[in-house]
Subunit: 343 residues, 2 copies
């Protein structure tokens, strides 16, 4: 047992699951960003022909799983399990998509940390021998998130300088056990370890400052991971955070620095990657679709091409709620991390 | 690997986790019901001295975990992981409780199926060798659920005959690996298998008829479990569903019967057990606290006393959402099951 658990929060996978496929679908603004060419599909309009944004969001979740499967000639019936979630109340996007996909489904809620949480649990299912093939997915949509968490879009409210734009996008990863011999999109990219996050709360109450709410959790997960594994930043080509954005990234690096960890040179944030400075998105992208679609296109691509050998992917979630917010509660954060390696 | 996965949706645990403790805290109406004497604590008022029902709900979640640990002289720092959720948007009850408990946390959303989903994943963590001790928990609160899903309580609205009353309660289970040698509340009660549910939707749209929305999922999970394992109803002393209530239970038994399974004599439903016919609760109890507190008091007690040897516990979730409801969507259901045995 000892080799599967390292330290307080980290798990190692002796039979590491292989990433055999992935897909990412994004909205038009995301398609115009610097990573536009990496995505499998860029929607022309954010309803995707559906009667509501919510229905478009669940369609993105469903289609990103189907797309990843299609690339390797599999169908949803070839999956042993689907794990995932989204930001909407009762994770309706994931649930309604799971209904269409007809697979056994484990619903997760980790806010924007969902992509890493699903990879962590999916990897446990495979490494532990409970499943041969699983899909992990997450989605978010700018329009559904704004009306649920902040204000109706129709109001035309202005954003504050620390605000981030919820990414319209969905990403999915297909994991398989090491006995898989079928078609694969990636040579030998594996999930070799994961660190389960804790809920951390430094008292942020501004729903337009998600980066600050999540940065402490990201720093906690990184510091714990390095301490658990006895590794240093230099053992990773990149430390990738989910959606801290510009301001949250600064805070993250400062908090790491307080713990004697200089992550600056090896840190990238999906929220900073997905939009360019010219796009009017304030502090960058957010939403669980942000890290999901950047990971499942650009990052996995760079791993496959050998530009990156080992990265620590930390998806970061702000556990924001209008109910607890109206009751004067702060916004706690959580961050789960997975180690992705090309071997 | 083959011995860990049986059929399409069922997992077997060759190193089955032991249930070493549990606790249940309920509201006053639940305390007046037939199981009142089994619960660890019955609240005198449903705010438990907090400023809001939501804060009381998260206190129940936190305290039920602490209580289960106290019974066996452990603390939250002895846990490798906490898994759980609740019905509130962004699972704020579980998230805020996890902040206080300071344990690594995996947030789940399975509506009222959460107790079984957490036991399933918690058992995988232990059987797979990823954790030595975990806590699985779920909570719900009548007052927070009514105002989130239906109408403000202050309106004094009347219920329909098929309505169920969301249970105010929380339940927690502490699981340990078979090397655990410390104090335990239960001799040798184990989680030996689990069946991951699928999202099933027969088109129910009435948020006051949760039983009907969940019954098809419960029947699907039971039929799949029996088919996966090659067992029959007679291999179980009880098939316990989460919170189908009176009407949902009838529908469940009919759907099972359609599949040639006569579950009638061995079926109990937590939603029917928790309230008496004299209590004005229409079709019985619901909410993820319902099955959580009945399992973690009455059912585990009967297993421990040898009155039951093996039960299949199917927690049932109605994936209801005000957003999807207002967009004319139906209410899909999901049901996860775990096999609990005294050995």
């Amino acid at each position: 047992m000892k080799n599967k658990r390292i330290g307080r929060q980290t798990l190692a996978f002796p039979q590491p699951p292989r990433i055999i496929s992935s897909a990412a679908i994004v909205g038009d603004i995301e398609g115009q960003g610097p990573l536009g060419a990496y995505f499998d599909q860029v929607l022309e309009d954010d309803t995707w022909g559906e009667a509501s944004w919510e229905k478009a969001e669940r369609k993105m979740f469903e289609q990103t799983v189907r797309r990843a499967l299609q690339k390797i000639d599999l169908e949803s019936s070839d999956l042993d399990c689907l794990l995932g979630g989204d930001l909407l109340n009762q994770i309706i996007s994931a649930n309604f998509a799971a209904r269409e996909l007809k697979t056994p489904f484990l619903g997760l809620y980790g806010a924007c940390s969902t992509m890493a949480e699903s990879l962590l649990l999916g990897s446990i299912l495979i490494d532990g021998g409970y499943a041969d093939r699983v899909a992990c997915a997450a989605t978010s949509h700018f329009c559904t998130a704004e009306r649920q968490f902040r204000n109706p879009l129709e109001m035309g409210g202005q954003t504050t300088p620390t605000a981030q734009r919820t990414v319209t996008g969905a990403g999915s990863t297909i994991l398989a056990d090491n006995g898989y011999g079928g078609k694969a999109l990636y040579g030998n990219v594996q999930v070799t370890a994961g660190t389960i996050g804790r809920v951390i709360d430094l008292g942020i109450t501004d729903s337009n400052n998600m980066g600050a709410a999540m940065a402490p959790a990201a720093a906690d997960t990184l510091c714990t991971h390095l301490s658990d594994t006895g590794r240093s930043i230099r053992d990773y080509d990149l430390i990738v955070t989910g959606d801290l954005g510009r301001f949250g990234s600064e805070m993250f690096l400062e908090l790491c620095s307080d713990h004697g960890i200089d992550a600056q040179r090896r840190h990238l944030d999906c929220g900073n990657l997905i939009f360019s400075a010219a796009q009017k998105v304030d502090c960058g992208g957010s939403g669980c679709g942000c890290s999901a679609c950047v990971l499942n296109s650009y990052l996995l691509g760079r791993l496959e091409q050998g530009e990156l050998r080992r990265i620590f992917f930390i998806a970061t979630g702000a556990l924001m709620s209008t109910t607890s917010g109206m009751q004067s509660d702060s916004i706690p954060g959580i961050a789960h991390g997975v180690v992705l390696e090309r071997r």
